[in-house]
Symmetry: C2
Subunit: 905 residues, 2 copies
């Protein structure tokens, strides 16, 4: 805390002051002071030239809402004292007619929310003080211009008078006086505009523009706190996962003016290039201007450095050339701040009459490529450690690198939006069914598969398509999950689309697209765009590889992949997967050449009939597993036994039933009846998972045999050990496990006897029902591994069907009833506790129990961190998320108190 | 332990001996010795005349199965020693040619399973020993008859030779020799039969009938243990909820013979009348007979007592008259045993040559009426306490008293069976739809509503029907739950029925019944019977009332009812309900005069439209609640806000949609689209419960207003306090609760201001999702009561949809994968733990939290006991189960260690 500042009495401290080489706060007080406030305090303490001011804390924001949008008692005294001190520091006085102190009032949340909340500049001006300002600045035009700007801004932000009303007045005036630019207006012109502005306020509100500068100040403070809950800010927080309870701080700071003539300027800078990461000062400025002019874009900013000017071929001089002393001071400060914050900074500054003032510094936003380069460079410069570099990259951002993305500079004719279900972008011809998608693909054409929703029978079409678009289904709908697994971009649940299969059209409002029309989908933003958009292909640069190697050195959790095919397995292995955590065998059942045998099995009326059909499937499944084992040679492969309800494999529409019946040579009625018989009210809670295997153990026997025969032949072929882990799905307790494990062992013994080869397989289970978590101790006495199926555990734990959640889940998150979508980040308080109970009880009974997670959460950074904390052995995720999980796992390990990966359990 | 018996060495004791006034065991060792063995030991210790023998424990049974149907080591030595001792006691020797010891080998499980397992008599006979027996008994015919009986029984039970083969031989022989009765056969005839029997065994098995008496003994022991898992026994255990792991004991006992002439006899007796409970010795006997002759029914048994003989008008003399000394001894023993066991006994005895032998005593099976009378009489006689009397009645049995039942003596033409979904019986005309059921009811006819399954739109039809029959759905299907709530008999899930709505027929195999044909359903057994069957009406006798008053004095748990209508509430109150624990408001929405307004609400495109429809519903709901509050005056009433998904209220078939669209004056397409829009993949996990209220808070506001306005007017009308408890369904955490509670309070404040009356209402929630149990601490900070909705908690905790469970749940229970149907008795290990967690965390945060349960489990005795142990405040169940719950709650309290109701939590 600064010695220069007078101490407040011992009441609750709402206000933190800064300026004149000291401050009450510091950079590590972001939660309390917001990012802007904390950094202003820090810069002030570092002795940098910061206009003095004070920060009203985020606690006041919470109090403001707790009190029904009223400010807490005692705040006024503290603000009054602080503003007096600011006046003393700059040698002016708030409201003084001759030497008025002007202030800016700005928001500042703990996490930067640029442009989301309100700002008021030049506060403290009224009809009297403006005259004082004119005299002090020896510039009437400047003073009146400042006043009209203030009226306009304050009326808009604090009084709710619409901005365009003032623009209209100004434009009319200019038209009447035949003036082209604002700079053509004289002091008297502005005076006349000021009168009209004030009249406008009077007319709109029925009362005059406030002349009381204290009323102005409190109006602005209230407006900033109020803007925390404006629609823009609420949406931004939801998209960026910022909790509403954080609140914003309010920064009140003495104004400095970059518009006091040609020895004044204002600008912004990045200490490194935010697009590429290159280590060069990067930025721009305007002479004789205020910050808002830079934003308005009416004048072209100039380069900061000579190098940049030359490169750009600009003729307007650089700051370096124009004001070499200020530039040198600024450059030194930039270096100092980068060293202090150990990161690339985004800086705002103003030069008033030749004197440099620092208005803001913060960690700069950057592209993922830049983030990687900066982190690796800083580590190699010795500014940060390799571990810190690893912690600098947001794992979610890696997605940008792993998929093609739309060129940010390209035009986009956005026709609708859906959920960003699987990242990356794709353009192609619209096609409405999977068979056609496949046919067109074979003809060498690129298609986007457009469906109301997808089902397992669309797998081949999804594979053939460059991207998938659905009008129904959430982030974890079939389309979304499968697309992520395949690495296909997907936009799901675009509810404003009307898809008409009969007419083969896709409509939005009055726009109607037909089969063959080109669209582009952006799975990273959820946008649906008409026509083709230029793409950028992913580059996995040397920096990426280097950072990932540091990450791998740091992490404790293993990262596996969810993969059902050899092709997926290969991609995942290239991305660093250390085994397969989930192979869903049912996806193998849908291939055209085997679905007939699958249906025959389902239609069989007795065990013999089923066995006959299963005998046909056996060699196919064995082939699938062999291919997988070869790809994953030397690594563990977890194979889940058949899981979905049988009706998923049967056709549903009458036409489909007729076709299939003919192909299978069974009466339509038989097939129809079986479909009806298998229909369920709640298939999610129905006859599936191990329940199928318990009804028809011969399915399990066939699958176990296929796995073990494949393991024998794969290990003979490669010479490397194959580690099959056979996983029993959807158990509620140990008896089901024991019942099926006995049958698996019997098959394994038979294979061993027949082949003379012993495979070191293990048998484990998916823990995906609340009861299984509770009974984990008992189950662990039999099982060799657990894989937490957190998708289903979320569905049952919260009683929310992921396919039906669309109608209310978004609202839940918007209303703050859930912190975030529990299908994206694990619900730690609910589902997470169930998992923890499962881990604790399981390990207590079986210390060698292997523990992993294979739900969608395995690729979500926040959930990966949770998995680390509860000491799982591995996470498993879709191939394209493997690098994300590796990085997230490393960060989780590095965030441990002692940094060694010692964990909660 | 008896002094008379030699001690075994210190190895594991597999064999417990009894006889000669002593025994190793006693009556309280039923688990180890089985019921029969424990009681033989007890009688022996009491000095009663018991033929000596020994019991091989139930532990051996477990070992037998653990060892893959092999007997454990060391057993043979213990059996050998025991059988030698038995021989010494009776002065004979096992296998001795001159003086052979014969034994019976019988099963004896901890819980009696009459007729379910195997028995072998006269064991120890072979071609040599039979001659010794003939000489000792001075009766060749007796000896050969015994031998042929033995061959027949042993070959059937232990060797698997079918019984009828022997019957055929005997019949052929009698035909050839022109002999009418078995008694006409001479010793030589039997000798010839014996040869043929032995040939038959040789022919069937390819080896001779075993002459080695030790082989015979071990064969019989193995057969008895093996019969524990025969299909009959497995089914019996499932029906009677007997765990498979208990196992059976085997009793080996010296034979005594009631067929040694006219000074011998055999008989059975109850110490009181098992049909009425009257305190009089009740039973029958046969002179010169073995036990199996009584069972065979070829001779008419005689009365035991003179009184009974006179009452029956029989001429055959009573035992009292024929053998006064033996009778007197027997009567004294009966009294002694009743005093010793403090209960009515079911006794088997044999008199051999004038000497009385006791073969078995056990608690006698009895009708519910008898059980009540006996318990009350014993208490009033001072034999047992009132508390003990309360513990004597199986609460589940009370059902028999509360519903009409089929006359057990009436003929039944059973055509099919389903699940005993709601007790009681009913006869009536078949009707296939609910509207017709109602119409016919109005015409004064009695109908049985027959549906594939029922839906909420069938409520009026179910109400109009005397009974409900469905071909689909389990014990907790809609039909079952609603029928139990209404007290209507119901048979559900009768899968062998084919119901054709179009033809209006019901078929089973080749039998075809039409609309209007009479059937009878027995909801207590699940039988479906053609034609009408004679009924017995329930009598709630003075004994019932007396016992229930003792129960009420003992219990700690309150008992409420689930009731949605004033009529239900009235019945429940008569049955002793102490409030309403669950009023499902949605049932009120289905009435014909309001469904239109409900649909209008659902079809509304905005809040105004919804409010308009809700305004129409308000007075109707208020009226419903007023009626409920009046019925329940002075007692608490819990009202759950709207729960089911909206699509339940819309029509579904195209024809229905068309009709409704016309009535509502909306286009068919609009209605059809809305139905499609509201369709869900898993409605159980969809947009329902509080999720509806969060989307459309105006529904909650209307319901809260209706409740409070009704409370005001009901309390004004009656002067008594009304205690509405408003219950929010299906929350996952506190935020949803707070969100809706705020709206309820707002409505309440408005009603208070408008009416000037303050109602002391409370707001609580249904805890019915696993996450809610885990977050109970947090929720309890806001909620005033929890009601555990264990139906949904079972569905989500186990991931089992109760509507779809039919296809696998039965198999699960049969295969021992679950102990019992978790929708009938709460799954204590899983769902029970969730409830316990909810109770503990809730109470820890809010010590005044009121806790209850309102799932179907609230009326299940085992579950009620669980609720008592975890210290809930009340259970709530359907009206007809209220007495069951009262009794179960009393028994749970009395089973507490200290008897004062101190509980686990």
């Amino acid at each position: 805390m600064s010695q220069a500042l007078a101490k407040e009495p011992a009441e609750h401290k709402w206000v933190y002051r800064f300026g004149a080489g000291g401050a009450d706060g510091s950079a590590d007080m972001k939660e309390l002071l917001g990012g802007k406030g904390a950094n202003l305090a820090e810069m002030s303490s570092l002795g940098l030239p910061v206009p003095p001011g004070f920060t009203i804390t985020t606690e006041v924001c919470s109090a403001y809402y707790d009190l029904g949008r009223n400010l807490p008692e005692g705040l006024d005294m503290q603000v009054q004292a602080a503003i007096e001190e600011v006046g003393r520091m700059v040698g002016a006085k708030f409201g003084d007619k001759e030497n008025p102190l002007l202030v800016s009032v700005r928001s500042g949340a703990p996490d930067s929310m640029p442009g989301m909340m309100d700002t008021v500049l030049n506060l403290g001006l009224n009809d009297e003080t403006v005259e004082g300002l004119a005299i002090r600045a020896s510039d009437k035009r400047f003073a009146y211009d400042s006043y009209r700007r203030f009226i306009q801004m304050y009326a808009d932000v604090c009084l709710g008078v619409e901005h365009h009303l003032f623009e209209d007045i100004l434009q009319t005036y200019k038209n009447e006086c035949k003036l082209a630019n604002d700079t053509d207006l004289t002091a008297d012109d502005w005076l006349s505009i000021i009168d009209q502005f004030k009249d406008c306020v009077q007319q709109e509100l029925g009362k005059p523009f406030p002349q009381d500068i204290h009323e102005q100040l409190w109006g602005a403070i209230g407006a900033v706190f109020g803007s925390w809950q404006n629609a823009r800010a609420v949406t931004y927080r939801r998209l960026h996962d910022i909790p509403a309870h954080w609140g914003t701080a309010v920064n009140v700071q003495a104004m400095v003016f970059g518009n006091l003539g040609d020895s004044s300027a204002t600008g912004v800078a990045f200490t490194r290039n935010p697009a590429t990461g290159e280590k060069r000062l990067y930025g721009e400025f305007l002479l004789n201007a205020q910050g808002e002019d830079v934003v308005a874009g009416t004048r072209t900013p100039q380069n900061l450095t000579e190098d940049a000017r030359k490169e750009a071929g600009d003729t307007a001089p650089s700051l370096e050339a124009l004001m070499p002393e200020s530039f040198a001071e600024f450059q030194a400060i930039c270096n100092q701040l980068e060293q202090r914050y150990k990161d690339m900074q985004d800086i705002e500054f103003t030069i008033q009459d030749g004197k440099l003032w620092m208005l803001q510094t913060r960690g700069g936003k950057r592209t993922t490529e830049a983030a990687l380069k900066i982190a690796v460079d800083l580590a190699e410069e010795g500014v940060i450690s390799e571990a810190e570099a690893v912690q600098r990259i947001n794992p979610a951002q890696l997605d940008q690198l792993l998929h093609p993305t739309l060129d940010p500079d390209a035009e986009r004719d956005v026709i609708a939006s859906g959920l960003p279900a699987s990242p990356g972008a794709a353009s192609g011809e619209i096609v409405f069914n999977s068979d056609e998608a496949e046919t067109l693909k074979e003809e060498g054409r690129t298609v986007i598969l457009v469906r109301v929703e997808t089902s397992p029978e669309d797998i081949h079409g999804m594979h053939a398509a460059a991207g998938i678009l659905t009008s129904r289904g959430g982030m974890t709908s079939h389309a979304a999950v499968v697309a992520r697994g395949m690495g296909r971009p997907c936009v799901s649940g675009a509810g404003s689309l009307r898809i008409d299969y009969k007419d083969q059209t896709l409509s939005v409002g009055s726009l109607r697209l037909e089969k063959g029309d080109i669209i582009t989908i952006d799975g990273t933003t959820g946008q649906i765009i008409r026509g083709e958009v230029k793409m950028r292909q992913p580059k996995l640069s040397g920096d990426f590889a280097k950072l990932m190697s540091w990450a791998d050195a740091a992490r404790v959790l293993k990262v596996r992949t969810n993969a059902d095919t050899a092709a997926d397995a290969r991609i995942a292995r290239e991305f660093g997967a250390e085994g397969i955590g989930l192979c869903r065998t049912e996806h193998m059942f849908f291939d055209e050449d085997r679905i007939l045998a699958v249906r025959q099995m389902i239609l069989a009326t007795d065990e013999d009939g089923r066995r006959e059909a299963l005998d046909k499937l056996l060699p196919m499944q064995r082939g699938d597993f062999e291919a997988l084992f070869k790809e994953m040679s030397g690594l563990p492969v977890t194979i889940r036994l058949l899981d979905p309800p049988l009706h998923e494999f049967l056709p549903h529409t009458e036409a489909e039933i007729a076709t299939v019946a003919e192909a299978m040579k069974v009466p339509v009625k038989t097939l129809y009846n079986r479909v009806q018989e298998l229909k369920e009210f709640n298939p999610m809670l129905g006859h599936r998972g191990c329940r199928l295997a318990i009804s028809y153990p011969e399915i399990t026997e066939m699958q176990a045999r296929a796995i073990l025969e494949a393991a024998v032949s794969a290990s003979k072929a490669s010479g490397a050990a194959v580690e099959p882990e056979i996983m029993i799905p959807l158990i509620v307790g140990r008896p089901e496990f024991d019942f099926l494990a006995a049958r698996i062992r019997k098959s394994a013994e038979a294979v061993e006897q027949e082949t003379g080869t012993r495979i070191a397989y293990t048998i484990g289970t998916m823990i995906e029902l609340p009861r299984a978590c509770l009974r984990a101790g008992e189950i662990a006495q039999s099982a060799e591994f657990f894989s937490f199926g957190t998708n289903d555990l979320t569905q049952t734990g919260l009683g929310i069907s992921r396919d039906d959640a669309g109608s209310f889940l978004t609202e839940y998150i918007q209303k703050g009833l859930l912190d975030s979508d529990p299908f994206i980040s694990i619900d730690e308080e609910g589902v997470g506790e169930l998992v923890k109970i499962g881990v604790e009880r399981g390990r207590a009974q079986n210390s060698s129990l292997k523990l992993g997670i294979c739900g969608e959460h395995g690729g979500d950074p926040k959930s990966v961190a949770f998995c680390h904390r509860i000491a799982l052995d591995y996470v498993s995720c879709s191939p394209y998320r493997v690098p994300v999980a590796r990085l997230a796992a490393a960060q989780a390990a590095l965030s441990d108190q002692d940094g060694t990966g010692k964990r909660e359990t």
